[in-house]
């Protein structure tokens, strides 16, 4: 059945391509800004995918431009200023506000084929909402994934598949593993949570806050009242959990995700929380890491209000403003081409592990490593995007460090956070 479906899809695509050719399309060029081109594996995948697309649609030329994460705003400003168009961008959700504010991008619903657009999972699209609409479509996405070293868990006489389902269960799980590995000098981290003051950590902590039942931002893009329930309890329980982990040495303070990835790959970490595509770096350290890596979702009972929900992170397509009709059609086709099982399956299994965000991909095989986490995959909560998202989230790490390491009281740490977050939001 699946194969038949795939065949049918391919046939339809072929036919539509044929129809397009028959009309003798005006040739168009899409300037495609892609931030994934600096990594070889991803760059190769994009090169092949684009070549296949251009072969099927000879009237379209896709011109790839590398854009660096740290200088993307300058890049777009610069290119638009010098008369180059920015037609399509592969970026991150957090880029949306800045790009909307800079009047770079438009809503995909006006560009992408309506039938295809309808196929995106709503709970993923919801995360790309800013101000007045959805400003990006996902290529694929991830929620918070717990990476677990199966060998280390089993060596301690425990079942790696039985990851605890409650916060108390998780603590017991951590403590028994710690008791086993305490004096071995082999394991540096029992349960790793990142607390470095970088953007990736900020969104990771925000997801933990969500898992504890909190909601950082209101739907209209303001800072939620962190002193009202359930936020106050969620915040208190989350901070105490971080203090518990850091204070007991189950996790280190101020480490970045990349540090945990490297250490996990080296076999020094029992478990840690990351995005699904963090596996790429684990595999870089030890190509055979797949043999000992399993995943899970967060416990579904996290404290008083927490249901273990998390936030969506996504690599997504952002569509440039001021396109011609031909370019719109070409971009619609190109996105569909990139978001097809045929093309994406290999990527999701070998290059960047992630979950699919479109019902047309429901037949797509997901990496066996993600099997454990997959069950919690739609367990996510919507979050509105705001302009200063990066700074507002990064300050979460500052708050956690203030409370866990620097000896601030919980009231002071949270009050400090509110002051900082409001500073960035009210500008």
């Amino acid at each position: 059945m699946k194969k038949l479906l795939a065949l049918l899809t391919a046939l339809i695509m072929l036919l539509s391509a044929g129809a397009v050719m028959a009309e003798e399309k005006e040739p168009v060029t899409i300037r495609f800004y892609n931030y994934a081109l600096s990594e070889t594996a991803k760059a190769d995948w994009w090169k092949n995918t684009i070549a296949a697309f251009e072969a099927a649609n000879p009237w379209v030329t896709v011109e790839s431009v590398t854009v660096d994460y740290n200088s993307m705003i300058q890049t777009f400003t610069n290119d638009l200023g010098s008369g180059l168009s920015v037609d399509l961008i592969l970026g991150e959700v957090s880029w949306i506000p800045a790009l909307v504010e800079g009047e770079f991008i438009q809503q995909p619903k006006d560009v992408i084929d309506p039938d295809f657009y309808a196929g995106y999972y709503d709970y993923v699209l919801d995360q790309m909402y800013y101000k007045d609409g959805v400003y990006a479509v996902p290529h694929y996405y991830t929620n918070s994934v717990v990476f677990i070293n199966k060998d280390l868990v089993e060596a301690a006489g425990m079942d790696a598949a039985a990851f605890p389902d409650t916060l108390d269960g998780l603590k017991a799980w951590i403590e028994s593993l710690d008791a086993f590995y305490k004096d071995s000098g082999k394991v540096s981290t029992i349960f790793g949570l990142t607390t470095a003051e970088v953007p990736a950590t900020g969104s990771n902590i925000n997801a933990m806050f969500t898992a504890f039942g909190g909601q950082l931002l209101t739907d209209d893009g303001k800072l939620a009242d962190l002193k009202a329930e359930p936020n106050a309890t969620a915040m208190a329980e989350m901070l105490d959990f971080y203090k518990y982990l850091i204070g007991n040495g189950y996790t280190q303070e101020n480490l970045k995700l990349k540090d945990y990835r490297a250490a996990f790959g080296a076999g020094n970490v029992v478990a840690y929380v990351d995005s699904s595509w963090g596996y790429a770096q684990i595999g870089e350290v030890d190509p055979k890491a797949a043999e000992f890596t399993v995943t899970s979702f967060l416990p579904t009972t996290m404290g008083t209000y927490g249901k273990g929900e998390s936030l969506v992170e996504s690599h997504c397509f952002l569509i440039g403003d001021g396109l011609s009709d031909g370019q719109k059609e070409a971009i619609s086709l190109f996105i569909q081409h990139c978001t097809s099982t045929e093309n994406l399956e290999g990527y999701l299994n070998n290059i960047g592990l992630a979950f699919v965000a479109h019902e047309g991909l429901s037949g797509c095989r997901i990496s066996p490593i993600l099997e454990g986490a997959a069950k919690g995959v739609s367990h996510v909560r919507k979050q509105t995007q705001i302009g200063p998202m990066v700074s507002v989230q990064k300050q979460l790490a500052t708050m956690v460090l203030d409370y866990t390491v620097n000896g601030a009281s919980m009231e002071d740490a949270v009050a400090g956070y509110i002051a900082q977050a409001e500073y960035y939001i009210d500008q």
């Binding site: 800045a98 504010e101 800079g102 770079f104 540096s188 470095a196 101020n254 500052t398 500008q427």
Partner: protein, 328 residues
């Protein structure tokens, strides 16, 4: 590396040296006009370049600091909306300016005074011509020629937690009690980590300059004082240092400015963290302008930054001038 600058003294010395050599023939007015023209032509490229790339941007930035200037102003070339001191008050109310000024001050004070102390010590020793002094004098300069970003990477590795050298040394000297010392991870130690890296990079140049200054100290006066029974430190304070006054003035003010402007070390080592403990004015202005895309606010920080720096250099000069008066 130190950013070259011209001290006020240099400027004054330049004009002084010129008047001493005013042996030019009495200029006739046509010749003078030609001289003026020729001089103008020679100066033109420098003037154009510096006006376009230094002066105009600075004025522009000061103006921008009084406006609401965001991303869209940049992309659509719209001028910012005048908002008086809103950028300044917003930064001040959030406590960001005060904290950044304080941290910048601490960083500059400690880096400059330690650099001066270490360099002076090293220069004094090398000036006694120990065996291999020539060789030492040239290998000493290696840290200075290493690009700042690489300096940052190098020290990031030395401070790395775990696996870093410093962490291991702390582990060793604490008898194994402290096991995961992260120099850059602690609120109290991070700034010192950067100070140490800055010291490493800046000691060589200052040593070199001080050494050169020591060559100007007349040997016979030092010798006479020694015979008169003045001990080493008396000679140091009453003869050597007064003779080196101008070298010290120039090299220390160079060092002050250099450290006020320091950004790459912060960018590679801490990015302003942890908990804002290394957020200097440089880091704050970069964050406001290029991370939060609030260019007006970023410009406000740099304007304050410039004022603070001018004040610091002025205070240093003032203290120096007064001391000069006393010793003279």
């Amino acid at each position: 590396m130190p950013t070259p600058f011209l001290s006020k003294e240099t400027v004054i010395m330049r004009s002084a040296s010129s008047s001493s050599s005013r042996r030019f023939p009495v200029l006739r007015s046509s010749r003078k006009r030609q001289d003026l023209l020729f001089c103008l032509c020679l100066l033109l490229p420098a003037v154009v370049l510096c006006t376009a790339f230094i002066l105009i941007p600075i004025i522009d930035s000061v103006v921008m600091s009084f406006t609401n200037y965001k991303l869209v102003n940049l992309t659509k070339n719209r001028p910012g909306e005048w908002n008086d001191f809103a950028n300044y008050t917003r930064l001040w109310k959030a406590g960001k300016l005060q904290s950044a000024i304080l941290i910048t001050g601490q960083f500059v004070f400690w880096t400059v005074s330690l650099t001066f102390l270490v360099s002076m010590t090293l220069a004094l020793i090398l000036n006694t011509d120990p065996p291999g002094a020539r060789f030492l004098r040239s290998v000493m300069m290696i840290p200075w020629v290493i690009p700042t970003v690489i300096t940052g990477l190098l020290w990031a590795w030395i401070y790395a937690n775990p696996y870093g050298l410093v962490q291991y040394l702390v582990h060793l000297f604490s008898g194994g009690r402290i096991t995961d010392f992260g120099m850059l991870n602690g609120k109290g130690t991070a700034l010192w980590g950067i100070i140490l890296a800055g010291l490493w990079k800046q000691v060589p140049l200052m040593t070199l300059l001080l050494l050169a200054g020591m060559q100007n100290v007349p040997e016979d006066i030092m010798e006479a004082a020694r015979i008169d029974g003045a001990d080493y430190f008396t000679r140091l304070i009453h003869i050597l240092i007064p003779y080196m006054r101008s070298v010290i003035a120039v090299s220390v003010s160079m060092c002050i400015i250099e450290n006020f402007k320091q950004y790459p070390l912060f960018a590679t080592l801490t990015n302003g963290g942890p908990v804002g403990a290394t957020t200097t004015l440089a880091v704050l202005s970069y964050d406001e302008a290029f991370v939060n895309n609030n260019y007006g606010s970023g410009a406000a920080v740099t304007t304050v930054w410039l004022l603070v720096m001018i004040a610091a250099v002025a205070v240093f000069r003032l203290i120096f001038q007064r001391n000069k008066g006393e010793t003279a």
